[in-house]
């Protein structure tokens, strides 16, 4: 019997397992599929502080950014997951937008110590030589970074098993959780397609399916899919793009409540030489059908930012389903309705970035310590009426 069962071997579940093992707990990670087969396998690896408004999510992001760095250092420099502290560059199309970007950056700095440099139009090409010439300026965020999400999940599980767990971080793949076992109200484990697994606590890290897993325990958790498409280009012989570069519109789209399609180019190079172009946001359920208009729009926005991309070929595209909650905040903490059940899901478009902080704080909670951050904005009960 384990101290903790983690449901979900995505990046969030992997981080929970890693930090729990590091805290000396026995961990079993269960996934119905392989490691990183969920949304972690169909996103990008941006670890951003630049795109978040001041508030609890940014606080979480700043902590997480620091943790990603120390994880990378601790495990061989790039962590085994291609950590790159490449920095982000947000660009503005008009002087008015540039002004508002500057205001936002000032506020992020004042409240959360987020570092930035204002970049006047004339200096943009010092950062990105191939940027379009008609931009009004931008803001450089040196803390923004990148990881390879699938490797990150796999590496955290591996590090957790090898470095801390003394063999106590176990992985059960191909086992779907179908229910919970309980004793006098308290969760004592999970039922799976491969038999029951017993544990002292269960962490629901099932991402976009976190609502379904919660429902198995009779708890309501409003987590829904928000579709996103990514375009991937052919590998370029020379890196064309150094930072992750995106337009100001991205920031509003992230926080938008619109169900309709929103796109804004986020363009970045990867170590493999390809350029990733994200990201669209739509609420269309779990519909995988390719939308040519969405891809066309992403391509158009990328070419507008980097005209040199016009003749570069897109060779593939994929889509994923971000797990979102109505208030766009993740769910992190103990479920007051189901003793023994914890949640770590609903990170929407920032689950890669927020994974280490989520795992770290939850491991503190499960181990009976005081978490480093106030988790109340993320509490699982916040959607129910009793909580209002």
């Amino acid at each position: 019997m384990s101290d903790v069962i983690v449901v979900g071997a995505g990046v969030v579940g992997a981080a929970c397992a890693y930090y729990a093992a590091r805290a000396g707990l026995d961990v079993t990670v269960i996934d119905r599929g392989p490691v990183a087969g969920g949304t972690t396998g169909s996103g990008e690896g941006n670890v951003l502080v630049s795109d978040k408004e001041p508030g609890p999510e940014l606080e979480l992001a700043v902590l997480s950014n620091r943790l990603w760095r120390s994880l990378a250092e601790r495990h061989g420099g790039n962590g085994g997951f291609e950590f790159e502290a490449k920095g982000g560059l947000v660009v503005a199309e008009t002087p008015e937008v540039q002004e508002r970007l500057a205001d936002l950056a000032a506020e992020q700095a004042a409240k959360h110590d987020v570092e930035h440099t204002l970049v006047p139009a004339g200096s943009l090409r010092d950062y990105e030589p191939h940027l379009a010439g008609d931009l009004a300026g931008g803001v450089h965020y040196p803390q923004d970074a990148q990881v390879q999400p699938m490797l990150a999940a796999a590496a955290l599980l591996g590090h957790g098993a090898r470095s801390y767990g003394r063999g106590t971080l176990r992985l059960r793949l191909g086992a779907a959780v179908t229910g919970f076992t309980r004793s006098s109200g308290r969760v004592t484990g999970v039922r799976t397609t491969q038999g029951d697994v017993r544990g002292g606590a269960v962490i629901n890290a099932a991402g976009t399916w976190g609502g379904e897993v919660a429902a198995l325990a009779g708890a309501d958790l409003p987590i829904l899919p928000r579709r996103g498409f990514i375009l991937v280009t052919e590998p370029l012989p020379e890196p064309l793009i150094r930072h992750k570069v995106y337009t100001a519109a991205y920031v509003t789209n992230v926080a938008s409540d619109s169900a309709g399609l929103e796109t804004s180019a986020v363009v970045e190079g990867t170590p493999a030489g390809t350029v990733l172009i994200g990201a669209s946001r739509e609420r269309v359920g779990f519909d995988r059908t390719t939308s040519v208009p969405v891809l066309a729009r992403l391509a158009g926005q990328a070419v507008a930012l980097f005209p040199a991309l016009r003749e570069v070929r897109a060779i593939r595209s994929y889509c994923g389903f971000r797990p979102y909650c109505p208030d766009h905040l993740p769910v992190i903490g103990a479920d007051p309705r189901v003793p023994g059940l914890y949640h770590a899901c609903g990170h929407e478009g920032a689950g890669i970035g927020l994974a280490p902080a989520t795992g770290h704080l939850l491991a503190q909670l499960v181990a009976g310590q005081e978490p480093d951050l106030d988790l109340s904005p993320f509490r699982p009960g916040r959607f129910s009426e009793e909580d209002q």
């Binding site: 619109s258 493999a272 059908t289 003749e311």
Partner: protein
């Protein structure tokens, strides 16, 4: 303009389907990425002049050119449905003579009420040490070399793999002046006679090729295969191994050569169908293929498939299926495309599992046979030019779903198709890929050549928790490169211990971002308005 039918693929299936529909008066467009019609078989004629059916195919192609818009050098990268139900095929073309064409690529959207997917298949290679050396080709790639004669003459070529389609390749190469040092068939080879169905007609062809090989003194060896290629900058020699039943190496020898043509079966090209949401099934050899009913309808309304995307069985089967699809499309023309998905094929449900068309013929008094030509021999034989056979009056409209036995398609065609399909399945059964090939690989053998992923990295990914092919790809990158897993996908599935899954390729062919950005224009009415750019996320709403 919106066509009645757009056909993707100009091989025997696509041309037969397009011509059948065009002859009946439908407005038809056919797109193909090649510079000529013909597809895998007729474009690269292996035995120039002597190819059975080639002359007839060329006549069909000419007839099609007079009646339909044939868009060559058009590569379809997406098939989608627009909000009003129209099907749209997005293509890229480089033809600079076309209006608006300049240096770069253009994108062309072809719209139609119905779509026929006839995109054929491509070679299924297996990796082996040295297969990334210049000079190692797929069987189809070697066949393509024949186009420019002189490219081949004087070469010392080894042909290896499994399946009867190695024979025409070897014959063609030998006939064009290459020295074919051997055909190494990893399986049991000309076991055609042991398969009663195969003995019927196909044996004639096999004998022809056997004679051809004998004339050129090409040794044909079964239970042998090329298991490694050697050379500094290009192939200089190969290791040929004697294999046991499971393809484990028993003994080896080195053969000097400068070219290797290898092929281990085919991968049906179905991603345009899966983009549209067509259901798939696994063919006998494990390949995912599109499920179709007796009328070649996929499970997506308005979308038909013919030829190798529904299962590989040679050009005659492809042509028959194309023709049947054409007839069914003609018969249904004028009626609105059905909105409910067609019943999916269940192999156990009888011939193609559909009730709206001819059923299995009862010996003697078969009502469906009346629609065919009386006295038509039922054995697989040379199908006729589409449209020559049937008088328009012999076609009947399709019945309602569930109403049995109203023939859309002459029963004789349906029966021929059943024969050829059985033949194709028997071939797949007779030439399976055995697992021993995995033992030919070394740790540093590249599994994916585009991303240069060696076997060791695949194994590492599995240690990290990749339990299926997709997660192996996510963790180790095989299949993420230029070919999107077309070359390595089968091998990676085998290494991951699962049958190949239907492809997810939202972009079926590379397309420049410039061309892609223009593809949205015509259908830009669909997406909702973008919110105005606003850098401050604290929105009032």
């Amino acid at each position: 303009m919106t066509y009645d039918l757009v056909v993707i693929g100009g091989g025997p299936a696509g041309v037969a389907g397009a011509l059948t529909a065009a002859r009946a008066g439908l407005r038809v467009a056919l797109v193909d990425s090649g510079a000529r019609l013909g597809g895998q078989y007729f474009r690269h004629s292996a035995v120039p002049g002597a190819e059975p059916g080639l002359g007839r195919f060329l006549r069909q192609g000419r007839a099609l050119g007079e009646r339909a818009d044939v868009l060559l050098r058009h590569q379809a990268w997406s098939a989608a449905r627009e909000p009003d139900g129209t099907l749209v095929v997005h293509c890229v073309t480089r033809s600079s003579s076309a209006p608006g064409g300049g240096a770069g690529e253009r994108t062309v959207a072809v719209r139609a009420r119905r779509l026929l997917i006839a995109t054929g298949a491509y070679d299924r290679p297996l990796p082996f040490p040295g297969w990334d050396l210049p000079g190692v080709l797929t069987a189809g790639g070697a066949q393509a070399l024949l186009k420019g004669s002189g490219v081949v003459a004087g070469r010392r070529i080894v042909v290896s793999g499994t399946g009867p389609f190695l024979l025409p390749v070897a014959c063609g190469l030998a006939g064009a002046g290459a020295r074919v040092l051997g055909v190494f068939e990893a399986g049991v080879g000309l076991g055609l006679v042991r398969q009663p169905l195969l003995a019927l007609d196909k044996a004639g062809e096999a004998v022809r090729y056997a004679v051809g090989l004998a004339r050129h003194r090409v040794p044909y060896r079964t239970r042998q295969a090329v298991v490694a290629a050697h050379g500094e900058r290009e192939v200089e020699a190969v290791t040929v191994a004697r294999l046991d039943k499971a393809w484990n190496v028993l003994a080896t020898r080195v053969v000097e050569c400068d070219t290797v043509a290898a092929g281990y079966g085919f991968v049906p090209q179905i991603e345009l169908g899966t983009q549209l949401g067509c259901e798939t099934r696994h063919d006998v050899d494990g390949s995912p293929v599109l499920s179709v009913d007796a009328a070649q309808r996929t499970t997506v309304p308005g979308v038909w498939a013919a030829g190798e995307p529904t299962g590989v069985g040679g050009w005659r089967l492809s042509e028959l299926e194309g023709r049947i699809a054409g007839l069914a499309i003609v018969a249904g023309h004028g009626t609105a495309p059905r909105t409910a998905p067609a019943p999916s094929t269940d192999a156990a449900a009888g011939p193609r599992g559909d009730l709206t068309t001819a059923r299995a013929p009862a010996p003697g008094g078969d009502p469906a046979a009346a629609a065919g030509r009386p006295g038509e021999q039922e054995m697989p034989g040379e199908p006729e030019v589409p449209g020559e056979l049937e008088m328009p009056g012999e076609l009947e409209m399709p019945g309602e779903p569930g109403e049995p036995g109203v023939p859309v398609v002459p029963g004789v065609l349906v029966r021929r198709r059943a024969r050829w399909r059985a033949f194709g399945e028997a071939l797949q059964r007779a030439y399976p890929v055995e697992p021993g090939w995995q033992g030919w690989l070394r740790d540093d053998t590249l599994v994916c050549r585009c991303e240069e992923v060696p076997l060791a990295r695949v194994r590492e990914a599995q240690d990290l928790g990749a339990t299926d092919a997709r997660s192996v790809k996510l963790l180790a990158r095989p299949g993420m490169g230029w070919c999107q897993g077309r070359i390595c996908g089968y091998a990676v599935s085998c290494l991951a211990g699962e049958p190949p899954r239907p492809p997810r390729r939202p972009i079926a062919q590379p397309v420049t971002l410039g061309a892609l950005s223009e593809s949205g224009e015509a259908s830009d009415r669909a997406p909702a308005d973008d919110p105005p750019p606003h850098p401050n996320p604290r929105r009032s709403s």
